[in-house]
């Protein structure tokens, strides 16, 4: 090489390095980490189950997301990313064959390798145990047979090689990817360990057999007292972050949690839906210093009033059998439903019943919660706009002599929040419509039983979102099929045209804006028919110490522990 060519090469390398430095991530100021990287929190509730096949609560999901792995996961912005799978699935043209390529480096926390056989066994087990979220695997052909106990294998699920999974579906299901990303029943489990531990009921009883493949493992558990977790060494998924331990006390009420937070005993209050109480949130909100530690996120719940579509004064088709279409051009109950909805000032409700809009915010955009796909927009529900005069006029024209609302009851299950809501509804109906509505509280099982029998004329409705896909709403709460079997749709609302729209949309990928537009169209049918008078959306307050970074909430799930670090303080 000549001297000039050496110089040219050297110059080229220098330029390349300069360009790379300019284009690469800009190093920020380095964070001085605390020596003790233990994240401490207090929960009121213990986990309802440590078994992903039996998961049923926010506490369960918050913990299981750290210990177990699914094929996909949600990132902090709720975008779906590959997790146990090495890439997004390839889907056949007819939408019924899904092929998943698995990561080859996945291992359980005890070092056992994970192959497609483990996924097949885990999903089969979930369907066999058939608990709340087994439905996430129901799109697969043959899943129903395993659930019913008439088959021991899922006929539509196969593993052509150690790192490929193929699922054949009964029908195209664009929402299935979202269901697979939910940190619940579709997570992979260690068959060897579970069998050796004594089967389905025993493996969760000891931390030595409680084996997952997530970034953290449980190292200590005293039921209803405490849980400890530590990061998995050399985790296949990469860096487990800065935390060296997570300690959770259980049985700590909301006031005690905040007291301990204030003395530095806890780094956070709010993870896994273990929120601070409304009085404390208000106190923090009104304090110029303390307010810096408080964040109020949008929650994943809508509450409101449901109207009976087949019985009583609000029925659109009185006497119809649940499952039968309730579409009726003359809808005798429509004006009543509209009047009762418009008579509620949602801002006043949130102020009075939700501690000055701390625990909830007014709902103006229909049943699907604000911030989630299918939300109709901040003025999407015309019947949510408070108009006392219009409500009164509508009511008077619908029920001039008051006979329709004689003896009218509002049914709800008793809790602090529900009681305040009910009392405010009652007061507003009296003030704005002149109607006396009797409040009838009961326990939740009794209310559920009566709703299933379709004898609740007007009652509390509420839904906590499972995953960010409108299918979660329509298929669980508003379809004709649900009205018939009574697992949801307590109003017995049945609109075949709406069902046709949502069924078609269910088959399409949600990433397509046209699919979302279809769900919005269906949502507008719901608000036009006033199936629910959605009155408020939930919130999720979070208290986080100023020296804790990386904690947060994306309206549905908490940010993972791998991103959390504790600074010197």
């Amino acid at each position: 090489m000549t001297r000039s060519s050496t110089l040219r090469t050297f110059a080229a390398v220098l330029c390349a390095a300069a360009i790379a430095a300019a284009c690469g991530p800009t190093p920020g100021p380095s964070e001085a980490l605390a020596a003790d990287q233990t994240l401490r929190m207090g929960f009121q509730n213990d986990m309802t189950s440590l078994d992903p096949a039996h998961v049923d609560s926010a506490v369960d999901i918050g913990i299981l997301a750290e210990v177990f792995t699914g094929l996909y996961k949600f990132d902090n912005q709720l975008a779906i990313k590959p997790y146990g799978a090495s890439e997004m699935p390839s889907i056949s043209a007819d939408g019924k064959t899904w092929t998943f390529k698995l990561r080859k480096d996945m291992v359980f926390s005890n070092g056992d390798k994970i192959t497609s056989a483990d996924w097949v066994w885990s999903w089969t087990r979930t369907l066999r145990l058939n608990d709340a979220y087994a439905s996430n695997l129901e799109p697969i052909t043959g899943a129903a047979d395993v659930e019913a106990g008439t088959a021991t294998k899922i006929s539509g699920l196969s593993a052509p090689d150690a790192y490929t999974l193929v699922a054949k579906l009964d029908a195209p299901a664009g929402y299935w990817l979202t269901q697979l990303a939910m940190p619940t029943a579709a997570q992979v489990l260690n068959q060897k360990v579970i069998t050796a531990a004594g089967g389905d009921d025993k493996w969760t009883e000891s931390v030595t057999t409680y084996i997952g493949s997530g970034p953290f493992k449980m190292t200590q558990r005293t039921p209803k007292a405490s849980m400890d977790f530590e990061p998995v060494k050399n985790w296949w998924g990469g860096d487990t972050g800065k935390l060296t331990k997570v300690h959770i006390d259980i049985g700590i009420d909301d006031v005690s949690r905040v007291k301990k937070f204030e003395s530095g005993g806890y780094e956070n209050v709010g993870f896994a839906n273990q929120s601070p109480g409304p009085d404390d949130v208000l106190r923090y909100k009104n304090d110029p210093v303390k307010s810096k530690l408080l964040t109020i996120y949008n929650g994943a719940r809508t509450s409101g009033i449901g109207f009976n579509f087949v019985k009583g004064p609000f029925a659109s088709k009185p006497g119809a059998t649940p499952g039968e279409s309730t579409v009726n051009p003359s809808d005798p109950g429509l004006k009543g439903r509209q009047a009762f909805s418009m008579a509620i000032d949602r801002a006043e409700l949130a102020d009075i019943a939700c501690a000055h809009a701390i625990t909830c915010q007014p709902a103006y955009g229909g049943p699907i919660t604000k911030g989630f796909k299918g939300y109709l927009g901040d003025t999407g529900d015309p019947n949510a706009k408070f108009d006392a005069a219009a409500a009164k006029a509508l009511y008077t024209s619908w029920d001039p002599d008051g006979s329709k609302v004689k003896g009218l009851e509002y049914r709800y299950n008793t809790s602090g929040g529900n009681t305040k809501r009910a009392q405010n509804y009652q007061a507003q109906w009296k003030k704005n419509l002149g109607v006396d509505v009797k409040l009838v509280p009961s326990d939740f099982p009794t209310l559920q039983k009566d709703r299933k029998k379709k004898i609740v004329i007007m009652g509390r409705e509420s839904w906590g979102i499972d995953y960010d896909h409108p299918q979660d709403w329509f298929d669980n709460l508003y379809s004709c099929a649900q009205a018939k079997i009574g697992r949801g749709n307590d109003e017995a609302y049945c609109n075949p045209a709406m069902d046709a729209i949502t069924t078609a949309a269910n088959a399409k990928p949600i990433s397509d804006p046209a699919t979302v537009a279809e769900y919005v169209k269906a949502g507008k049918m719901l608000v036009n028919d006033v199936v629910w008078a959605a009155t408020d959306y939930g919130t999720q307050p979070y208290l986080t110490q100023s020296y804790v970074k990386g904690m947060g909430y994306n309206s549905l799930y908490d940010f993972p522990w791998e991103g959390i670090r504790i600074l010197q303080h």
């Binding site: 209803k224 301990k260 326990d443 099982p445």
Partner: protein, 314 residues
């Protein structure tokens, strides 16, 4: 321990076992007549899932069969599984919580005896002086204020008050697990009963120190400490021991509120949370434990009598 006392103790233990069995049976039958269970959830389960869950907990069987299965489990010390927290076995859970409640209870009994007797003795030996009036007033205030009010006052003082006054340096950490977390709830629980013991001790001491044998002891030139503690106090304790049984029962039942307020993971807190969450298996277990605990506590008190008064024989 004499043979008679041993027989008496065995008879009482048999009676306690029978009582606990009757109480838990009544509760078992009662809760199974109530509508609904902890298995109700917002996400409505399909019928097969619901049936599988009911089968897991034997709730699909007629209640007499459930009762027979439960008795079988009880005979082996197995109180079953929590309805709310699947996989959580009730017996080890309640045994752990019993330990917590007994520790708190013992602390409260110590407060009751030490504070109560000290006040009572002081008031008696300084009768009709300002010491007597102060001690008597304190006792009246003590038993007029319920234990949960004391709990709130002490929490305000030790949690918020000390924290604010010391600029955050001194803080009472509510909860359980450290030895320094015992005194405050023990005081809250024991103070009302200490006041009762103080009044009773004062009255009893006043009667005893007027007895001839005490006058003789003074005349012999014995020190005040010897006269009071060795001669007078032991006889004055007999009426106090009489009410110790009901006092301990009161402490056990009062601990439900105190544990809840202080976030102490004992039987009392479990009692409240299991009722609210309709975890009937745990409710039955807690009632069983409480029935046995009250029985055993009263037995221990009864066995103290022969020690205090050798004239008493079983």
């Amino acid at each position: 321990m004499t043979r008679g006392t041993l027989v008496y103790a065995v008879q009482r233990l048999v009676l306690i076992t029978f009582t606990a069995l009757v109480v838990s049976s009544v509760v078992f039958i009662g809760v199974h007549q109530l509508p609904g269970t902890a298995l109700a959830s917002e996400r409505r389960l399909n019928p097969e899932t619901e049936l599988a869950l009911l089968r897991h907990y034997h709730l699909d069987l007629p209640w007499p069969e459930q009762y027979a299965l439960w008795l079988q489990g009880l005979a082996h010390g197995d109180l079953g599984e929590s309805l709310v927290n699947m996989g959580t076995h009730i017996t080890p859970l309640l045994l752990r919580e019993l330990k917590v409640s007994v520790t708190l209870g013992l602390g409260a009994v110590l407060v009751t005896i030490i504070v109560g007797m000290s006040l009572g003795v002081l008031a008696a030996i300084r009768q009709n002086t300002w010491v007597d009036y102060a001690a008597t007033t304190a006792a009246v205030v003590g038993y007029s204020v319920p234990s949960f009010v004391w709990a709130f006052l002490l929490i305000l003082l030790t949690v918020s008050g000390f924290y604010a006054w010391s600029g955050g340096t001194f803080y009472e950490d509510l909860g359980w697990g450290k030895i320094e977390q015992i005194p405050v709830p023990a005081f809250a629980l024991g103070l009302p009963y200490a006041a009762i013991v103080a009044r009773l001790t004062r009255a009893s001491m006043l009667e005893v120190i007027r007895q001839d044998y005490v006058r003789t002891a003074w005349a012999k030139g014995l020190s005040a400490r010897v006269v009071i503690l060795r001669h007078a106090l032991r006889n004055a304790l007999i009426p106090v021991a009489t009410i110790l049984g009901p006092l301990i029962t009161g402490i056990i039942t009062g601990s439900v509120v105190i544990e809840f307020l202080f976030g102490i993971p004992g039987l009392g807190q479990e009692f409240v949370t299991s009722i609210i969450s309709r975890d009937y298996n745990i409710v039955i277990g807690v009632f069983t434990f409480y029935a046995a605990l009250v029985g055993v506590a009263n037995l221990i008190v009864d066995l103290l009598y022969p020690i205090l008064d050798p004239r008493i024989r079983y």
